[in-house]
């Protein structure tokens, strides 16, 4: 018998016992819905965690340092990659070389310094951090009060809300106001002739060669407050970027603020060249971190990333999803018993009909396929129904969570997510389970003796 004829006959048979078959199909639908709801929760939480981690800047960033600087990470420099390439200075030339590497979005130094802020004539001690342009795209500033920096070199500041509350109880009133940043600027001293043999240096983004060392001069910079952010945004790991007053990175570099490690790095670079203690290389996605690291190491620098942490996280979520899937599948397994029951009942009711079909030329295989298709059709409809119900449950979970979060004045979350692959997988699984449930009834129907079946009243 042709597949189309089989399907038509199966559909006709299913419509005959409409109530029973509908209830059985609904049972499958509830089973699939439970599976989809469970998995959507697992996937939603995973996506949320991935998004949060991605926004944290922890997993798409590589810290690059001269080889000698990596002792601080608890390992010897040469152990970092086993490379025998001699370490070079991490200077502007190296920064440009890093920027040219494929999949690199941005390369910037980490600038973060404790300083004093004056607002309305009152001094406050705080930490200022330079925010790279990519900071806006990280999502950490989504939902902020006010706006992000108008440009990469704008004399503007974004305040972390706790700090903003210190300045004014009505934080939104701070937008557009001016504050004064007081800081210590490094100024280059003229180079001594003997010092030019290899001992110059600066930290951060110094422009002129400080081969002869530097002096520190107090300075002030006026900044306009443009935004207030709820969370404390991080632009990288290792504390980089964590500050309570955020300013554009270019502005931070221009300030040439003296930092505590200037003395140490001053001793390491070549004369006349700017050198950085470390640079953050931001890449397109966590997936390319390893490739970019592999490209950086031959340049003679040590690298560090949190790549292993993401793979561990994926593993944890894979186990979590598996457990959710198993619990979700239980309802579907129970529903499959309903299919067996329905089809076995159908065999009893249609015993004579099976005999007639065999007398008219149906082979055992045709009868088997007919019952199989009936089970498959119930699985398909149940699967579609289940995905719809599961999606609605997920929507309900998101709605309820966000209603609660809104009442707590917290930003919204997407705890449940139903991606397309889950829709396809759930329907396929529903059909597979239904076909498996149809195995026994189908083979029992196929084995019916036609003479006995025709005698059946």
């Amino acid at each position: 018998m042709k597949f189309r004829d089989l399907t038509e006959l199966a559909w006709r048979n299913l419509r005959e016992a409409l109530l029973r078959n509908s209830l059985t199909t609904l049972g499958i639908g509830v089973g699939v819905a439970s599976l989809v709801a469970m998995l959507s929760l697992g996937v939603g939480l995973q996506e949320m965690a991935n998004q949060r981690l991605s926004r944290s800047g922890l997993f798409d960033a590589i810290i690059v340092a001269p080889r000698t600087n990596f002792r601080g990470f608890g390992r010897r420099a040469q152990d970092n990659d086993g490379s025998s390439v001699p370490g070079g200075p991490l200077d502007d030339e190296a920064r440009k070389a890093l920027e040219r590497l494929p999949n690199v979005v941005e390369v910037y130094p980490e600038i973060r310094f404790p300083t004093e802020i004056r607002y309305a004539g009152v001094p406050y001690s705080t930490v200022v951090a330079g925010v790279p342009e990519s900071g806006q795209r990280s999502g950490a500033y989504d939902g902020m009060t006010g706006t992000f920096f108008s440009g990469p070199a704008a004399d503007e500041a974004i305040l972390q809300i706790e700090f903003a509350r210190q300045l004014s109880p009505v934080t939104s009133s701070l937008i557009g106001k001016e504050l004064v940043l007081r800081y210590a600027e490094r100024q280059a001293l003229p180079a001594e002739p003997e010092a030019n043999n290899g001992r110059a240096n600066t930290n951060g983004a110094d422009d002129a060669g400080l081969s002869g060392g530097f002096s520190v001069v107090p300075r002030e910079e006026k900044l306009r407050i443009v935004g207030i952010v709820e969370t404390e945004p991080a632009s990288g790991f290792g504390g980089v970027g964590r500050g309570r007053v955020m300013i554009p990175l270019q502005v931070a570099e221009k300030l040439r603020v003296a930092q505590t490690n200037d003395f140490r790095t001053m001793l390491g670079a070549r004369p006349g060249r700017n050198a950085y203690q470390s640079l953050t290389v931001r890449v397109k996605s966590p997936a390319v971190v390893k490739d970019v690291e592999d490209a950086i190491k031959p340049l003679g620098f040590a690298t560090y990333s949190l790549l292993d942490a993401t793979s561990n996280l994926r593993q944890v979520f894979a186990v979590f999803d598996l457990l959710m899937g198993i619990f979700g599948s239980l309802a579907l397994i129970v529903a499959s018993l309903g299919i067996i029951n329905t089809l076995v009942m159908a065999i009893l009711e249609r015993r004579r009909e099976i005999g007639v079909l065999k007398a008219l030329g149906a082979a055992d295989g045709d009868i088997r396929k007919l019952f199989f298709v009936e089970a498959g059709v119930m699985g398909l409809i149940g699967g579609l129904l289940g995905v719809a119900i599961g999606w609605m449950i997920g929507f309900g979970m998101n709605f309820a969570t966000n209603t609660y979060l809104r009442r707590q004045s917290l930003p919204p979350l997407k705890v449940s997510s139903v991606p397309w692959w889950m829709v396809a997988a759930a329907i396929a699984f529903s059909i597979a389970v239904s076909l498996a449930a149809g195995l026994y009834p189908a083979s029992r129907a196929a084995r019916l003796n036609p003479v006995e079946a025709l005698r059946y009243e």
Binding site: D5, R12, K358, L360, G361, A363, D366, P450, L454
Partner: protein, 235 residues
């Protein structure tokens, strides 16, 4: 289907069908050897339990003999797989039953189309074959009616159309007039005779109505307790 070398459509060779019922052995058909020629109209007669329906089921390939050979156009059904038997039923045999056995949820047209679906006949070809078969039994006006909307005689004619639609060479009828009144029974018998004569179709009909068998069949085979007791031409 080509006729057998000896000109027979059906031949049984010491065929037996025994059942075990508890400790008793039931010999439903016991050592029966017959030969039915192509185009012959044969009536299988006997009282209830004589084994005539069992013999019909064996010829149809719905049941298998315990021993002996059963040949349809020289092919031994006893050696066939269940798949081959299904093909035999689909292409060589047409069957009508006492209880009509039309599927109640299908229309007349759909019931008649069923053997064509099972045989995998193309959809384009089915329509004309179904209409031809239905015209043959003069039910053209009842195409969309369900069996419950047809009289007993119409249902049996519909069953006949269903049996003919696959153009079999052998038509088996198990008590085809058993559920019909006398006049309608005669109508069906006339139809069977017309099919036998116009299509040269071999017909084996099980019945317990000897007078009717004598009127319409060429030959009458009498069975009793699973054995052949007489075999002769009707008057």
């Amino acid at each position: 289907m080509t006729p057998a070398a000896d000109g027979s459509a059906i031949r049984t060779d010491h065929i037996a069908r025994h059942y075990q019922m508890g400790s008793a052995l039931v010999r439903a058909v016991d050592d029966v050897s017959i030969s039915i020629r192509l185009g012959e109209f044969v009536a299988l007669l006997g009282s209830s339990g004589s084994g005539k329906s069992t013999l019909l089921n064996l010829i149809a390939g719905l049941d298998r003999p315990t021993s002996g050979g059963i040949y349809a156009h020289d092919l031994n059904l006893a050696n066939m797989s269940s798949q081959e038997l299904a093909k035999h039923r689909s292409h060589t045999i047409g069957i009508v039953f006492q209880a009509f056995n039309l599927l109640p949820r299908m229309t007349l047209e759909e019931n008649v189309e069923l053997p064509l679906r099972l045989a995998g006949v193309d959809r384009a070809e089915r329509g004309s074959r179904v209409r031809d078969a239905i015209q043959h039994v003069k039910l053209g006006a009842r195409l969309t009616h369900r069996p419950s909307e047809l009289s007993g005689g119409e249902q049996q004619r519909a069953a006949l159309a269903r049996a003919l639609v696959n153009r079999p060479t052998i038509l088996l009828a198990d008590e085809p007039t058993g559920n019909l009144d006398s006049a309608t029974g005669d109508e069906i018998m006339n139809l069977l005779r017309e099919i036998n004569e116009s299509l040269r179709m071999t017909i084996v009909m099980v019945t317990h109505e000897q007078p009717r068998a004598e009127r319409f069949a060429h030959r009458m085979i009498q069975m009793k307790d699973g054995k052949l007791v007489s075999d002769g031409e009707s008057r």
